[in-house]
Amino acid sequence: MATETTAEGCEACPAHHAGNLIKLGVNMSNWDYVVALAGNPNTGKSTVFNALTGLRQHTGNWPGKTVVRAEGGFSFGGGRYKLVDLPGTYSLLSTSLDEEVARDFILFGQPDVTVIVVDATRLERNLNLVLQVLEIRDRAVVCLNLMDEAKRHGLQIDDRRLARDLGVPVVPAAARQGEGIPLLIETLAQVATGQVVCKPHRLKNETPAMRKAIDRLVAKIESVYPDLPNIRWVALRLLEGDKRIIEAVRTGELGDLSRGTPGDPGTLSEVTR
């Protein structure tokens, strides 16, 4: 099955995960790329979503506003992008209801690009989620939102430095004023089409015991599913006893993630471009 897999081909091809997305309730018939929108609660994620899609989803200034997944779309440079707004979460590791929705989509939905909206005034706290997402997904763009507020609070953020440290593009924005949105669209399109290649940051400061445990489990998973894109993260979740991941391992659903090459009858549906 690996015969048709090229360096880029698999991840970039819109059809490779269509089956999984349809399972997650995403209608894919008119879209070329899927973009997931993740972020902490109250970072203006819904505002970014509205700015990107032109929709008027209600936004509110209290944490946990988006409680369901909203969807919209836009076209850019000939590509049609489907945007999925995930519930705002602080983390993907605490297994509460909203986190599961976000986590399932990022892992099993395999979006072409994951945009992580972060609050520039609370960068450190927000990076928690960014680093977790980068453990799962390679193709990501960080949208450094609320730059206007950061400025008002006397904060200066070196977005280039941040991009270099994180290994993914960082776009400063003030979504309420519409600033930075065109650049965000352009950047995420470049990542989606593979013009920009990400080298995401991976965790460096594990304790020796953790590293030993992770390495041992990673070796085991690798021997069973050599093509799995996010082995390390799966190992982390298994070590924490995450029931959804255990279930996915048990049923073999996890294996599907590594097998989703074009031509696989299991995942290629009648989706055509």
Binding site: Y90, R122, L123, N128, E240, K243
Partner: protein, 344 residues
């Protein structure tokens, strides 16, 4: 139209009757239900559990111990044993009572349910530790196999319950008991609690009052026939040897870094404008509650500034890593800090 006095009297009479029948826990209906349940399967299952626990600790069980544990008379205990023997669950040879293999696997199943449920209560609900055992005692008899497997799956198949007791697997495998009783541990070497016996309730309450639970580190000061003295949670504690024997410990070897050994201020002492640096989150804070605090960036070394108190007295808002987060007092009490002197 009805006379108001008559109407009110009738209504109060009705309310009184309903209250008598359905008052939570003490109402006639609940009591009747409990008696009915105890009369049947539940009592039998409790008896098997008792026999199993004695067997696990290599102590001989007797009709007396059984009667005492189940709070029934010795005659009733003897009747119960006869019933259990008829069903091939136990074998009584003179004064020796032994579980048959069927009886043992039955007992293990009940223990599995009990410990899984305790684990569930400690991780997923806000129920305090004093209530875990009692609630699990009630629920263990009415969860069926499918419920139990589902529960185990939801919890990620935990290996130990919150008291440090091993949870039997579906196939009835169980890890051997670890550690020695605290009353027999070696003075001078640091030890870590691996298990706390949750029965009888009065003894357990004393252990809880000293803050002892699996994972807590102790330094034994002295053991005499009258008392066991030790340092734990930053204070000196004393327990009667009988009570200390319900705590199992192993000598701790690992680094001392994550022990709760010295006296700490908690976040709750900070007044608005004061700040502190987090030392650790107490072990009493578990499950989702603990993970949530860490998600917010409350970790050892984090600088926290108290900002304002709610006009109703609780919660307090703290500045954590650039964000303002309100926490209730009971959570603040679980976050141990070192005060920072200079005000921000």
């Amino acid at each position: 139209m009805a006379d108001p006095v008559t109407a009110l009297v009738v209504a109060f009479a009705l309310v009184a009757i309903v209250a008598f029948l359905f008052w939570p826990h003490r109402g006639y209906y609940w009591r009747a239900q409990r008696v009915r349940r105890l009369g049947g399967r539940a009592l039998l299952e409790d008896a098997l559990k008792h026999l199993y626990n004695f067997e696990y600790r290599s102590q001989p069980a007797s009709v007396e111990s059984l009667g005492g544990a189940l709070e029934v008379s010795q005659n009733e205990a003897a009747d119960l044993l006869v019933r259990a023997e008829e069903r091939g669950l136990v074998k009584v040879e003179g004064a020796v009572i032994r579980l048959t293999p069927i009886g043992r696997s039955y007992a293990l199943r009940i223990i599995r349910v009990h410990r899984l449920y305790e684990h569930y209560l400690s991780e997923e609900t806000g129920v305090t530790e004093e209530d875990w055992h009692r609630l699990a005692e009630e629920r263990e008899h009415d969860l069926d196999d499918a419920d139990v497997d589902q529960l185990a799956f939801e919890m990620g198949n935990p290996a130990y319950d919150p008291h440090g007791d091993p949870i039997p697997t579906v196939d009835g495998e169980i890890a051997p008991q670890r550690g020695v009783p605290l009353s027999e541990a070696e003075v001078g070497t640091p030890v870590t609690v691996v298990h706390v016996e949750d029965e009888p309730e009065a003894v357990y309450a004393q252990i809880v009052a000293e803050g002892l639970q699996p994972g807590v580190r102790l330094d034994l000061i002295e053991i005499t026939p009258e008392r066991v003295r030790f340092w734990a949670n930053g204070t000196e504690c004393t327990l009667a040897p009988m009570i200390a024997s319900n705590v199992a410990v192993v000598s701790s070897t690992g680094p001392v870094e994550d022990e709760e050994d010295e006296f700490q201020d908690t976040l709750a002492v900070l007044r608005p404008g004061e700040s502190g640096e987090v030392v650790r989150i107490s072990r009493r804070c578990r499950g989702l509650a603990r993970r949530r605090l860490m998600d917010l960036g409350i970790l050892p070394g984090t600088e926290i500034l108290a900002e304002m108190i709610s006009p109703s007295g609780d919660p307090t808002a703290y500045r954590v890593r650039g964000a303002t987060v309100a926490l209730r007092k009971e959570q603040a009490l679980q976050i141990q800090i070192n005060r920072t002197l200079e005000a921000h």
